[in-house]
């Protein structure tokens, strides 16, 4: 925050050691966060695999991936935020989602 | 107006909207997400009394199909401006007639900041006029 702090450029080893110490200090958070990240990674992979076939509604994706429908929607919304998936056309009371790369030109309906 | 008529096929409508009444009125139509034809171009004016007669005739010459002057009416913040405006318009109408322009192409109306319906009516009416006036031309083209 101050200049004195930003100027610090420790050696690589010292940096590694510092991170190691910090990891130990924050083990109570690092562990669960890592586990959660792995879980989300796996779920997102499943969603990607599902959408690689064709666009699908959240319940369809949930059925195909075995994820809960609310988790599926939550992940879709997150992936949409980071540009990975886009909203496609509507089927009944649900919107379909598609991978960004193969999305139709415009979701405008 | 007819749903199929492509907006592009119609002539353009110029709307001179006063900044204290009609322009916020047009914004209010937007806030209500009420749709209207896109051949409408709204220019913000402090008071339409600014424009001399030739301005209107020039616009028509340049290809503007219709002009709607949306003023504040009697609530105009510039006292006397509305009256001066109306008098000027009579002279414009006279010149339009001389040039063979249908005077329905120019309208003066009052639109307040919440006159959504009136705004839409004006735009739709002018489009009707333009459609009517331009129909034979289109047929020939």
């Amino acid at each position: 925050m101050t200049q004195a702090k930003t100027e610090r450029t420790p050696g690589k080893d010292a940096k590694k050691d510092a991170m190691k110490a910090l990891r130990a200090e924050r083990a109570q958070w690092v562990g669960p966060a890592t586990a959660k990240a792995a879980e989300h990674k796996k779920a997102q992979k499943a969603i990607r695999a599902c959408l690689a076939q064709a666009s699908a509604t959240p319940p369809e994706i949930a059925a195909a991936t075995g994820l809960a429908p609310d988790t599926t929607l939550w992940l879709l919304a997150s992936m949409k935020k980071f540009g990975e998936v886009v909203e496609a056309d509507k089927t009944g009371a649900y919107y379909r989602y598609a991978l960004a790369a193969q999305a139709p030109e415009s979701g405008e309906g | 107006m007819g749903g199929q008529a492509s907006v592009g096929a119609q002539r353009k409508i110029l709307i001179l909207a006063t900044e204290s009444c009609a322009y916020p009125g047009a914004d209010s139509v937007g806030q209500a997400h009420a749709s209207y034809p896109a051949n409408t171009y709204i220019l913000k004016v402090k008071a339409p009394v600014l424009f001399p007669e030739r301005f209107y005739l020039d616009c028509f010459r340049k290809g503007i199909g219709g002009i709607i002057i949306m003023s504040c009416g009697e609530e105009c913040p510039y006292k006397g401006a509305y009256k001066a405006m109306a008098q000027r318009l009579d002279r414009v109408y006279a010149q339009m007639k001389e040039q063979g322009l249908d005077i329905r192409r120019l309208r003066l109306t009052a639109i307040c900041t919440v006159c959504n319906r009136a705004f839409l009516n004006e735009v739709n009416q002018m489009n009707q006029v333009l459609q009517e006036l331009d129909a034979p031309v289109q047929a020939q083209a």
Binding site: M1, L22, V30, A37, P59, L73, K81 | -
Partner: protein
């Protein structure tokens, strides 16, 4: 922290701080809270030449208002109205913003010497990002592998452990929270300005001012406060701020969907007084904004979901402000259904719909109805408990007490300390902004009187200097 708070302050100018790099600053006024009340107060004070420090607990200023979709009764976009004030405050040369900052202690020292000064001890919570270096490019955010529910989006989508708080946040600077960080180092790898500081520690700051304005706002009463409404466990029962996010154009789904499975809701219900006017919850007062925001949301919903049925269950519709009643009548004319009943309880159903139990007072009595989505119109609770932090009096309703509510509504029992906005009871934005102006007026008068007594120059510029704490200011 304790020692700083309780040791006698011989010289208020002394720089203290456990981190050794703490800051201090002398201001004319200290504004606690960077929501719309605090910003308006600060602007009105700064426009008279008084220097102000605005202390905000969140990573961005803007408070509740910047998180809304649109505001009643004009249906202006909340962001469009809030951002100019946020930007004006952020760019004002007389205003210093401190974000991620908690007030640990606010007290008057040397009160016998011409009223003394107010001294605030603050904790600058770490952003784990060098706020000067960060350019807000979001590269870290894309690189971060951790997703966690984004409170800024009602929890309906994920955010990263490191992120820009939200799209129109001020300052546009990243913030990392250690609770969700796995310390993988990816953000530091991609940061073009090496701004990541994993080991940043909280810092103590000390500010001195002659007047303070408490603009600490409100928090929404929690859904879990009412057992009959499901304690937050019934799918598709959400609170009103969550609905604001669903309605916001930059919301989690970009449209209104049912969170349990993404269905487009056909039927949406509002449960009014879900956190107010309810002795059984210990909140007897009216939260004053819920009727209007529910009507506003209902109108916005009927715009975005023209086929949906929208029902508002209410006890009294309190559309009391300028043009509010007309707004309410418009909503009725638009076909929004108003049912005069307090909803007794909610139950989940198999298919994700929610059963609403109420008394139909125009019909057969006990009635139930199913809705795809139920919005609880939660009320306002005080945003801040002064407790041991500040010896300002609290009224029975838990909000800051005012001593002359009729003639000087911003006056607290503590000399030189004023209050504005929802900190002094639930309030809508219009009333908050007006009251903030009033608080600024009274604070300015207090400052002027103090300056006159002290024989100081009338121009506040003469004795104020820009604070040395610059990390939170930007521009």
């Amino acid at each position: 922290m304790d020692s700083a708070a309780h040791s006698p302050q011989d010289s208020p100018q002394v720089v203290t701080g456990t981190g050794g790099t703490g800051g201090m600053g002398v201001f004319d006024a200290l504004v606690i809270g960077g929501g719309i009340a605090g910003l308006q107060t600060a602007l009105d004070l700064a426009d008279q030449g008084y220097s102000c420090a605005v202390v905000e607990k969140d990573a961005s200023i803007g408070g509740a208002m910047i998180r809304l979709s649109k505001v009643f009764p004009t249906l202006d976009c909340a962001s469009c109205i809030t951002t100019p004030k946020m930007a004006a405050a952020a760019h004002h040369e007389k205003i210093t913003l401190l974000t991620c900052c908690d007030v640990d202690r606010l007290e008057r020292v040397n009160a016998d010497e011409d009223g003394g000064s107010l001294v605030a001890t603050l904790t600058q919570r770490p952003r784990h990002v060098d706020i000067e270096a960060c350019i807000g490019c979001r590269k870290c955010e894309y690189a971060c592998p951790v997703l966690t529910p984004d409170a800024e989006q009602g929890g309906f989508s994920g955010r990263k452990a490191i992120r820009i708080p939200f799209s129109n946040a001020i300052p546009q600077k990243a913030v990392l929270d250690v609770e969700h960080c796995m310390l993988c180092g990816k953000c530091a790898e991609v940061c073009p300005t090496q701004a990541i500081r994993y080991d940043q520690k909280p810092e103590q700051l000390r500010l001195e001012a002659r007047a303070a304005v408490l603009a600490t706002g409100f928090r929404l009463s929690p859904v879990a406060d009412k057992r009959q409404y499901g304690l937050g466990a019934i799918p598709n029962v959400i609170d009103s701020l969550q609905m604001e996010r669903l309605l916001a154009p930059h919301g989690p789904y970009g449209r209104v969907l049912r969170p349990s499975d993404g269905m487009i809701p056909d039927s949406i219900a509002y449960v009014q007084c879900a956190g107010s006017r309810d002795a059984s919850m210990g909140v007897g007062y009216c939260s004053r904004v819920c009727c209007m925001y529910a009507i506003k949301q209902a109108m916005l919903l009927s715009g975005s979901l023209p086929l949906a049925d929208i029902t508002i269950y209410y006890m009294d519709i309190r559309a009391f402000g300028k043009n509010y009643e007309q707004f309410y009548q418009n909503a009725k004319a638009m076909g929004i259904e108003f049912v005069k009943a307090k909803v007794a309880s909610l139950d989940p159903t198999e298919g994700g719909a929610v059963t609403v139990h109420y008394e139909d007072q125009t019909g057969a009595g006990v009635a139930t109805r199913e809705h795809d989505l139920v919005v609880l119109s939660m009320g306002m609770l005080p945003g801040w408990q002064p407790g041991q932090v500040c010896p300002v009096a609290i009224a029975a309703d838990g909000f800051i007490d005012t001593v002359a509510p009729k003639t000087l509504p911003s006056l607290t029992a503590m000399p030189g300390v004023f209050v504005a906005g929802a900190a002094a009871g639930p309030k809508d934005i219009v009333d908050t902004i007006t009251e903030a102006g009033g608080a600024a007026m009274q604070a300015a008068k207090y400052l002027a009187a103090r300056a006159a007594n002290a024989g100081l120059a009338r121009t506040p510029q003469a004795r104020t200097e820009k604070a040395s704490i610059q990390e939170a200011s930007h521009g």
